[in-house]
């Protein structure tokens, strides 16, 4: 099995062939950043604050422009130039989230910006050495001990074990072949076992989801949990912005003086002006908005996508909600045991 002993050599090698993004620590908080020599890389911390969806679906993205000169308007294509890149250190939950996003952005009509990024990106996942109490990815069939991705890696005492899973992964492996040595892979098996042992102890690892299977869209509409949650939901966008699968966006125009830039940016179904249309808004109260957010992930999305939930159990909302409201509470309140 391929093994990397010197991690910085690995980073340098990847950065030499493609843009490399990886978790970087900044005052105790870890987020994906473009690698640069001397960066404070932190692949021990389990979860980045922002999810890995930024790689393919960035928070703001300029789409087109209108150049105004006097009375003339000229349309410009301002879509970003996408270069090949490597997303390193992605966890299993985030890796699954890309599949969720694909179901939205790669179906007709295909989102060309997303598609370009998806094609350009090689995902290198990292097994979750130390799962946390907020994790519940196993409920969605994710294997944190052996996450999916173009390449899967395990960080062990010996070094980083490396396993290419796809053509893209193989290509990357070949491009940086010099950094690898061979390892016996025993440490990987040990780690997998250790992770499984921890997962058995995780409080949220075994949620009862049976009540969500095959239900009709309106099944839970009148459920009291929506009012309960909305009482103290602050209507901020934290859950949606740290969520790896939230995919809603708004398209807006920015007046730059000499023209207009049309861009898209993340939107949040927690916001009062979400889906506001000319006639008004069809969801006007916070309980309706909360219902939309959770049922979208738990009922509407699976109904349309062969049962795939719109949640990957990363637990970011569990950790970050200012009011400690989250999808686990909703799953339980809806009738799970």
């Amino acid at each position: 099995m391929k093994l990397v002993k010197d991690l910085s050599a690995l980073y340098e090698a990847i950065a030499a062939v493609q843009e490399l993004y990886l978790p970087v620590e900044n005052k105790g908080r870890v987020d994906f950043k473009l690698y640069e020599a001397g960066a404070n890389v932190d692949i021990k911390t389990l979860k980045t604050v922002r999810s890995a969806k930024d790689f393919f679906f960035t928070q703001t993205e300029t789409l087109m422009g209108f150049k105004v000169e006097g009375k003339n308007i000229e349309v410009e294509d301002l879509r970003p130039e996408v270069r090949p890149f490597v997303a390193f250190g992605v966890r299993g939950c985030d890796a699954r989230s890309f599949e969720v996003l694909d179901k939205v952005f790669l179906v007709d009509p295909v989102d060309t910006v997303y598609e370009a990024r998806r094609k350009a990106g090689t995902v290198v996942t990292l097994a979750c050495g130390r799962p946390e109490e907020t994790c519940f990815c196993t409920n969605f069939g994710i294997t944190p001990e052996a996450p999916a991705g173009d390449v899967t890696t395990w960080l062990t005492e010996e070094g980083l074990y490396w396993q290419a899973n796809t053509d893209k992964g193989e290509a990357l492996t070949a491009a940086i072949a010099a950094v690898f040595t061979e390892g016996d892979g025993k440490a990987v098996e040990e780690q997998k076992k250790a992770i499984s042992d921890i997962i058995a102890k995780l409080p949220l690892a075994n949620l009862d989801m049976t009540h969500l299977e095959g239900v009709k869209e309106e099944t839970f509409w009148g459920h009291p949990v929506w009012k309960d949650i909305s009482e103290t939901c602050l209507a901020c966008g934290t859950c949606t912005y740290v969520c790896p699968t939230c995919q809603c966006y708004d398209v807006r125009d920015f007046d730059c003086g000499n023209g207009i830039e049309r861009f898209r940016c993340w939107d949040s179904c927690m916001y009062s002006d979400f889906t506001r249309m000319a006639h008004g808004n069809n969801r006007n109260t916070q309980d309706q908005r909360c219902r939309q957010r959770y049922l979208h992930k738990l009922v509407y999305f699976p109904r349309r996508n062969e049962g795939m939930f719109g949640c990957v159990g990363c637990g970011r909302c569990v950790a970050k909600c200012p009011s400690k409201l989250n999808i686990v509470k909703v799953i339980k309140a809806l009738g799970g045991k």
Partner: protein, 143 residues
């Protein structure tokens, strides 16, 4: 027509004192840099911090607010409120590391044409020294 881009200065002037002071500077043919552009507001208390930030966003390199001398406000008290608001805003900008000389508040009466011109001259020089405002720029507006 296109002249090299000089630092751009936006001056908010109250209608009753400073705008009249600017007019007097003109009447007396007192020269000050053309990159100073004046916006007329009823009173210095009409200047919203948003306007100041917006000016920087749009590419201004310096913003100056001019009002009646304290005690002489046409609306009696407007400039006193303006003074507090603007002091706090300036302090905050400096706290965020925005060069503190990029913003200024001056009291210019309708009789102080010479002071108006001299103030604009000195402010323009100060801004020229600081150069382009990079710390509050929005590149979308600079294309």
């Amino acid at each position: 027509m296109q002249i090299e881009k000089k630092p751009l200065i936006v001056a908010f002037c109250c209608n009753w004192c400073s705008y009249a002071g600017a007019d007097l500077a003109g009447t007396n043919r007192l020269n000050y840099p053309a990159n100073v552009k004046i916006i007329r507001v009823p009173c210095s208390c009409r200047v919203n911090p948003l306007f100041i930030l917006k000016a920087f966003q749009r590419g201004a390199d310096g913003v100056i607010i001019c009002g009646c001398h304290p005690g002489d406000c046409h609306y009696t008290t407007g400039n006193y409120y303006a003074r507090r608001r603007i002091t706090l805003l300036f302090s905050m900008l400096s706290y965020l590391g925005i060069e503190k000389n990029r913003v200024r508040l001056e009291w210019v009466s309708a009789a102080e044409g010479a002071k108006f011109a001299a103030t604009m001259q000195s402010f323009a020089e100060e801004i020229a020294e600081l150069g382009e405002c990079k710390r509050l720029e929005d590149l979308r507006c600079k294309k």
